[in-house]
């Protein structure tokens, strides 16, 4: 069964990330590399990406009659999507183990439709 692991980040985190020196970023990427290795070992990795920060977002809303384009993420909420992984897992417990191993503070786990074996 496939799951999406969605990483959410607060504004403070994003600001610190923007200003962080290379060495700090490298350390975080190293943690993610380790996580990716873990997934690969288990044959669980399907894919994943880091997303650019919230200030880079553009929202397209479909009103039915037309599309409205606005600057920014769709809602002014504290935590915004920062990245995601797609994983293969036998059941929710396994997916949750991966979510706990992910180097991030807040992860949402969502099943991917049509992926049940």
């Amino acid at each position: 069964m496939k799951y999406a692991l969605l990483i959410y980040q607060g504004e403070e985190f994003e600001q610190k990330w923007d200003q962080a020196p290379d060495a700090e970023r490298a350390a975080v990427y190293a943690e993610h590399d380790a996580f990716i290795d873990l997934l690969k070992q288990r044959g669980a990795l399907i894919g994943g990406h880091e997303l650019a920060g919230r200030s880079s977002a553009t929202t397209v809303r479909n009103n039915g009659s037309d599309h409205v384009i606005t600057d920014g993420p769709y809602a002014e909420i504290a935590e915004q999507l920062g990245g995601f992984y797609f994983v293969e897992a036998g059941d929710l417990d396994e997916a949750l183990k991966y979510a706990k191993a992910l180097p991030a503070g807040l992860v949402e786990v969502r099943p991917i439709v049509g992926s049940a074996a």
Partner: protein, 428 residues
């Protein structure tokens, strides 16, 4: 429901075991429940004519499996993939009546049910509803009545929970060794929530919903039977029994009676004895586990049985230790009450101030404050605190009690020399 009919209880025990087994075989709770229900209906009809078979459970299991196969075949005509029963090729002719499963060989699958129903990915109300349904064997209607909601509301809650289980694929298993302690915590919490809801119902006109308490105790006993080496499972049962033992003494003529004033002849002493034995056993395993500590606290309150009174100093210390193991604002509130009893309310008031932000909806915090203020001869402030408590409390009997105490405070404001006796606001 749970109370009276021994036949009903016996069926329920069987039904839960069979449900667990079928759920495992069929990998679907819905299918298992429906199949079992079909079997039950068939049984009632056939047994009325042919008499009750000796191996009732085996019979039900056989019929349930057959009904499940029939349902699957019907539903397979819709183009859906189903992860289900092995159907042998050429499964056209109805097989002859199978050998009945020997009841003693039916493995006890109930533990899987318990852990699945209490999975943390489900909301707490969902965990409670599923536990009562799948493990307790209660009907949706019975559960709805216990929680004072309508049957459709409870049915929707259970349906949503099952849907989450299916969509997210919550596994039907006992967690691995490594995960067990954390997941067991969920289970214990659910059972304790069911008990406390019965012990002091959050709404309505009754002080105790005995059926809920009894159901929680019954489930705690089952858990203990299924996990005899797990100390917290033993420890959970102790405070339940010790509190439950006082159920008939907590009300007198519809009015709430505090612990020191209760008629001990109405206490169920056999339950107290059992509870105290369990406390000793729990302490032997591990004095510092959360439920062992709660058991010890409950045991302290039984001092009244031996003609003395609660050792509040000991209780305060126990709550302090409980705070280390399972920190929570309620634990800190209870500790504040114990401190007030042991050392006087002046010592405890500052402890309440720390809790103001953490327990916004709780009536117990203003009640404690009110009682302390009354003792400290500040009746006007006490009245204000009672008002806050009354605004938050929806159980009629507790409200009446609070109103009575408030009246005492009001009288105090009018007469400067009036004193009120110290009270134990949360000791019900």
């Amino acid at each position: 429901m749970t109370g009276d009919d021994p036949l009903e209880r016996a069926y329920r025990e069987h039904a839960v075991r069979l449900l667990a087994l079928l759920a495992r075989e069929l990998r679907s709770f819905d299918l298992a429940e429906d199949a079992l229900q079909d079997a039950h209906v068939a049984a009632l009809q056939l047994w009325a004519n042919d008499g009750v078979p000796a191996n009732r459970a085996g019979w039900l299991l056989t019929i349930a499996r057959r009904r499940a196969r029939e349902r699957v075949r019907r539903e397979a005509t819709l183009a859906r993939k189903l992860p289900l029963l092995v159907t042998a090729a050429g499964d056209h002719a109805e097989p002859p009546f199978e050998e009945e499963e020997d009841v003693t060989t039916i493995p006890d699958e109930r533990l899987r049910l318990v852990f699945t129903a209490c999975h943390p990915a489900l909301s707490t109300p969902a965990q409670i509803a599923l536990t009562l349904r799948l493990v307790g064997g209660l009907s949706t209607r019975e559960i709805a009545r216990l929680f004072l909601v309508t049957e459709p509301t409870m049915a929707a809650r259970i349906t949503r929970a099952k849907r989450k289980m299916a969509e997210a694929r919550i596994p039907y298993r006992v967690p691995s060794e490594a995960d067990l302690p954390e997941r067991l915590g969920s289970v214990l919490a659910v059972l304790y929530l069911i008990f406390t809801e019965g012990y002091l119902p959050s709404a309505g006109v009754r002080l105790v919903r005995v059926e809920l308490c009894e159901e929680a105790i019954r489930l705690a006993r089952i858990l203990r039977e299924l996990m005899p080496d797990e100390p917290e499972a033993t420890a959970l049962l102790a405070p339940m029994l010790l509190q439950h033992a006082r159920r008939d003494a907590r009300l007198r003529s519809g009015h709430f009676v505090r612990l020191p004033d209760q008629d001990q002849a109405l206490w169920h002493h056999d339950e107290i004895e059992e509870g105290l034995e369990l406390v000793v056993r729990a302490q032997r395993y591990d004095r510092s586990g959360a439920y062992a500590l709660q058991a010890s606290i409950a045991a302290e309150h039984t001092a009244w049985v031996r003609g003395s009174s609660t050792n509040w100093n000991a209780v305060a210390t126990l709550y302090e230790r409980l705070e280390q193991v399972r920190p929570s604002p309620i634990v800190r509130l209870n500790r504040a009450v114990a401190v007030a009893e042991a050392f006087g309310p002046a010592a405890a008031l500052p402890l309440l101030d720390e809790l103001e932000d953490e327990l916004p909806g709780s009536y117990q915090l203003p009640v404690a404050r009110a009682e302390f203020l009354l003792c400290l001869d500040q009746p006007e402030a006490a009245v204000a605190a009672y008002d806050r408590a009354l605004a938050l409390q929806t159980n009629d009997i507790v409200r009446n009690h609070l109103a009575t105490r408030r009246a005492v405070a009001v009288r105090s404001t009018k007469s400067a020399s009036a004193r009120s006796s110290p009270s134990t606001p949360t000791r019900l």
